[in-house]
């Protein structure tokens, strides 16, 4: 019976995934009354068409964060969900592309089985279940119904429909009677629920915007989910769902209340860690390896800690201290662990500690962290090109074209013996007109980081020759990495790139040329508010653009499989 039920859900999942591009709703009127909007609502926001509704898979972190909220932090699973494909600079945009393989479904199911067993475990059932069955050896529809109505709403990110609820209760009852165990029966339906496509995939749905004729907006639950995934990297909590249910997220007062609550929550930290991990392309750490002979001090723990260091600094600087985003590239404040200290050649207590690089230190800003320096380098040596490319693409949103297919690496890989330093070798790029076109936008930046080897350890010489760490960034010259940090800090593309990434990440949609006026407006406001991240998040999430849905160019048939009903309809069904 369980297999049958699961199979049905699997089929539903696949159907939904492949209908990804088809999830659109009818055109309609508008709702929100912007006249009553608080100051935070961007009433002067330039007109934009909105973003498409997305169907995207929950990431592993979003799945786990949601389980932690629903069942508590001791529900520990390691599901190994496959990563998304990086798209337009963000993994978050790749989570809306691609299908689901049978192997991936197996991973989902394995995780679901584990969680279900843990929830009904004898030690946990007393506090995770909202009721006690009359007889633990048989089905108890009333108790199961109470449980699934409560938990189902949280993991589905909306109330269950009557049909969904009755299915879960019925299957739990059938299994309980077969197994003569209420809890094992319940586990069968919990497992099914956790691999439901409505749980694993975020299916955004829209409704007519009552205020703007011919425009669509996200419905309350989709907006709640978009907000929660953006700010908390998890499903909405009970209060946010209640606000969605009451339609409050479409009133300026109601929305700002929820957004301010979310921005003030400690859960914002997890949300922003996920954002910066994505923006900085730290998924690269999963494949990072350094030559153990060349860099014996660099281990797997070093890599993990390096990623953590930069994320800690970002959160501390931008959230805890609410400081200017641009100063992230010049700050000497950081956190170090014993493993990182070995590379930094510093003493460190056995746990994470705050540390401030002294004024005469060659390190300032996150670009001089081990994370950035090690990830954007070869396994045996530094790479000014990789570093420069990463700076351009990740921090300034300036894509660098890939090398031509017939590129000749011989000059670099087999350099003349007289060429001692990396600068000597990569200068070849700039002499060759074929290479220079791209390398002149990457290498002059990357060369200023040459005082740091392939793992980010400081060095003054290379093969006995003093390193020249001078460089330029779009006409601004500097002599070392500290100068690079200052040039980055003052580069106009630095804040605008963050704005672009933040908006795309939050909406799950790549930005386009038509979004430029909107992004420019956000960037201006970001500057007016001192380049403070929480203020930017508030601006973006309060904007109409965040919730407005773009009309599809064509009108494919709407998917009818797992779309959530609109909030009032669900409320009616569950009463």
């Amino acid at each position: 019976m369980r297999e049958t039920f699961t199979s049905v859900l699997r089929g539903t999942a696949l159907a939904c995934v492949f209908a990804l591009a088809s999830c659109s709703g009818p055109a309609a009127d508008s709702v929100a009354d912007s006249k009553a909007a608080p100051a935070a609502v961007a009433s002067a926001t330039p007109e934009m068409q909105g973003t498409p509704k997305r169907l995207r898979a929950l990431t592993q972190e979003q799945y786990l964060n949601t389980l932690t909220y629903v069942f508590g932090p001791d529900i520990q699973v390691n599901p190994n969900f496959p990563p998304a494909q990086r798209t337009e600079g963000l993994l978050a945009l790749g989570s809306g592309r691609g299908g689901v393989s049978s192997a991936q479904l197996e991973l989902y199911q394995k995780a679901a089985v584990t969680v279900a067993q843990m929830v009904v475990d004898e030690d946990r059932r007393t506090f995770l279940l909202t009721c006690t069955p009359k007889d633990p050896k048989t089905a108890d529809a009333a108790c199961a119904s109470q449980f699934f109505a409560h938990v189902g709403r949280l993991v589905h990110r909306r109330p269950l429909t009557k049909i969904e609820l009755s299915e879960y209760v019925e299957e739990a009852g059938n299994a309980a009677n077969s197994l003569k165990d209420f809890y094992r029966g319940l586990a069968v339906s919990i497992e099914a629920m956790l691999i439901s496509p409505d749980v694993l995939f975020v299916v955004e749905t829209s409704e007519p915007d009552p205020r703007n004729k011919d425009q669509q907006r996200l419905d309350g639950y989709s907006l709640a989910t978009r907000l929660a995934l953006y700010l908390w990297n998890a499903a909405p909590d009970d209060e946010l769902l209640r606000a969605a249910e009451k339609g409050e997220l479409h009133t300026p007062k109601g929305r700002v209340k929820q957004i301010d609550r979310m921005l003030a929550s400690p859960r914002l930290e997890k949300g922003m860690r996920a954002f910066f991990d994505d923006m900085f392309a730290f998924d690269s750490f999963a494949a990072l390896s350094k030559d153990a002979m060349m860099y014996p001090v660099f281990t797997g723990v070093t890599a993990t800690d390096a990623r953590e260091e930069t994320l800690r600094v970002a959160i501390d600087h931008l959230i805890t201290k609410n400081r200017d985003y641009r100063d992230l590239y010049t700050t000497r404040e950081t956190f170090i662990s014993p493993r990182l200290a070995a590379v930094y050649k510093l003493p460190a207590p056995p746990t994470w500690s705050r540390y401030t690089f002294p004024e005469n230190s060659p390190r300032a800003g996150i670009v001089t962290h081990i994370s950035f320096l090690a990830v954007h380098a070869h396994s045996v040596r530094s790479s000014p090109t990789m570093r420069g490319k990463a700076l351009r693409e990740l921090l300034l949103c300036q894509p660098v074209p890939p090398p031509p297919a017939n590129v000749d690496f011989s000059a670099l890989e087999n350099p003349k013996a007289t060429l001692k330093t990396t600068r000597d070798r990569v200068d070849f790029h700039l002499e060759n007109p074929v290479c220079a076109g791209c390398h002149k936008i990457t290498d002059p930046m990357g060369l200023s980081l040459e005082n740091f080897d392939g793992i980010g350890a400081y060095r003054e010489t290379e093969k006995g020759q003093k390193i020249d760490a001078s460089g330029t960034l779009d006409g601004k010259a500097f002599t070392d990495a500290v100068g690079l940090g200052k040039a980055l800090r003052d580069h106009p593309a630095l804040p605008s790139c963050l704005v672009k990434r933040a908006f795309a990440y939050g909406t799950g949609s790549p930005t386009t040329n038509t979004d430029r006026p909107l992004l420019a407006h956000f960037t201006t406001k970001f500057g007016e508010e001192g380049y403070k991240l929480p203020a930017l998040l508030r601006t973006i999430t309060m904007s109409e653009a965040f919730s407005r849905v773009a009309e599809p160019k064509t009108s494919p048939t709407p998917a009818k499989t797992a779309n959530a009903p609109s909030a009032p309809a669900v409320a009616a069904n569950t009463k």
């Binding site: 281990t299 590379v343 510093l346 207590p349």
Partner: protein, 369 residues
């Protein structure tokens, strides 16, 4: 000196602030403000070995507990529990009562070649000469007891194996050297050397090898007994120290956590990466026997064919210093081959530079003469 103070203040600050700390010292150098720290990574008894062992051990390796038990209590005969196991177990703890009554052989290394330091400044009849012939008067009589015991011979004697394994696994045995007042790590006629017990694991690379650059917190609470300072000098990269009496942490702390060493000193080639050389001094044979018996269970000794009752009698025969009340020498000259890796040593506030310079009893006696 000013920079040194800055480092100390920075480190003190770290402890004062709980987890936060700041430094004004220039980074990326192991020798900062005239100070450099080292953590011991290898400690093996200095045992001279030829490739096949026949020169120093012509009779082969000694028997261990299992072999001796079989010889003492042949299986074809009937024995009582008291006459066999209990008797032999008792002899491990009270070896002086057994004398040589069993007549079991124990082979001590032959020849005059040995490794170690000249502890008394004299060239005695029993002293060794280094393999290259350059150092004479080497005092390392414990080699007589350990030299033909498989456990102590390289590369994979049981004792050597476990000492190195536990160096990685445990923190208790962390032995730190801190050099202060260093102007030049190659040549400096006057440096201060302070030893501490550390509290942290050693830094390893991904292959499990010890590497420099780790941090060690000096144990100023439970490790006060270990803190001692002495003077030293560095000549052409080799650090030698004035003898003092110290405690050094035992590899295992199952029963006896520390070893008392008289006239302890080192002769180590030091760099910014680490150090390698010799450590020497005199060990109290009663305490040594007790430490061995308490810390190393019979299964360790069986793997390495090490009989503590036999070794103890060798200690007595070869003890060469510090007579006890009975007029017999109670201490035995010893040497270890040691290695260090550079480590940053952190101290809690107001605990830096503790451990007043000390003098060994021998030095004090010499001064009196």
């Amino acid at each position: 000196m000013k920079a040194n103070l800055s480092v100390k203040l920075a480190v003190s600050c770290a402890f004062a602030a709980g987890i936060a700390f700041a430094s004004t010292a220039s980074a990326d150098e192991a020798l900062q403000g005239g100070k450099i720290g080292y953590a011991m990574t290898h400690k093996n008894w200095a045992v001279y070995q030829t490739p096949d062992g026949k020169a120093e051990c012509p009779n082969g390796m000694n028997d261990g507990p299992r072999e001796q038990f079989d010889k003492l209590y042949p299986r074809e005969k009937k024995h009582t529990y008291v006459e066999t196991q209990l008797e032999r177990e008792g002899e491990v703890w009270v070896p002086e009562k057994t004398a040589e009554k069993h007549g079991l052989p124990f082979y001590e290394p032959q020849g005059k070649i040995g490794i170690g330091l000249n502890l008394d400044g004299k060239v005695g009849a029993e002293d060794f000469t280094s393999p290259d012939g350059k150092v004479t008067g080497i005092d390392n009589q414990i080699y007589r007891a350990f030299g033909c015991v498989a456990s102590y011979r390289g590369p994979d004697g049981s004792y050597r194996h476990f000492v190195q394994s536990y160096m990685q696994q445990f923190k208790y045995n962390r032995f730190l050297l801190e050099l202060t007042g260093v102007d030049d790590l190659a040549n400096d006629p006057d440096v201060t050397v302070t030893i501490y017990r550390g509290r942290d694991a050693l830094l390893l690379d991904s292959a499990g090898n010890f590497i420099p650059g780790g941090t060690q917190r000096a144990d100023h609470r439970w490790g006060k007994d270990f803190i001692k300072s002495t003077k030293g000098k560095i000549v052409e990269g080799v650090l030698t120290t004035t003898p003092i009496d110290v405690y050094i942490p035992e590899t295992l702390a199952r029963g006896a956590p520390k070893q008392f060493v008289r006239d302890w000193r080192i002769e180590v080639r030091v760099t910014e990466e680490g150090g390698e050389g010799l450590m020497g001094g005199y060990l109290d044979i009663e305490r040594l026997q007790n430490n061995l018996a308490q810390n190393w269970a019979t299964h360790f000794r069986s793997y390495g064919q090490e009989s503590i009752p036999s070794e103890y009698r060798s200690f007595i025969r070869n003890a060469d210093a510090y007579p006890g009340e009975d007029g017999k020498n109670a201490f035995i000259s010893s040497a270890w081959q040691i290695k260090f890796k550079q480590a940053f040593i952190m101290h809690p506030p107001q605990a830096v530079a503790s451990g007043a310079p000390g003098k060994s009893e021998a030095v004090q006696a010499a001064a009196r003469e």
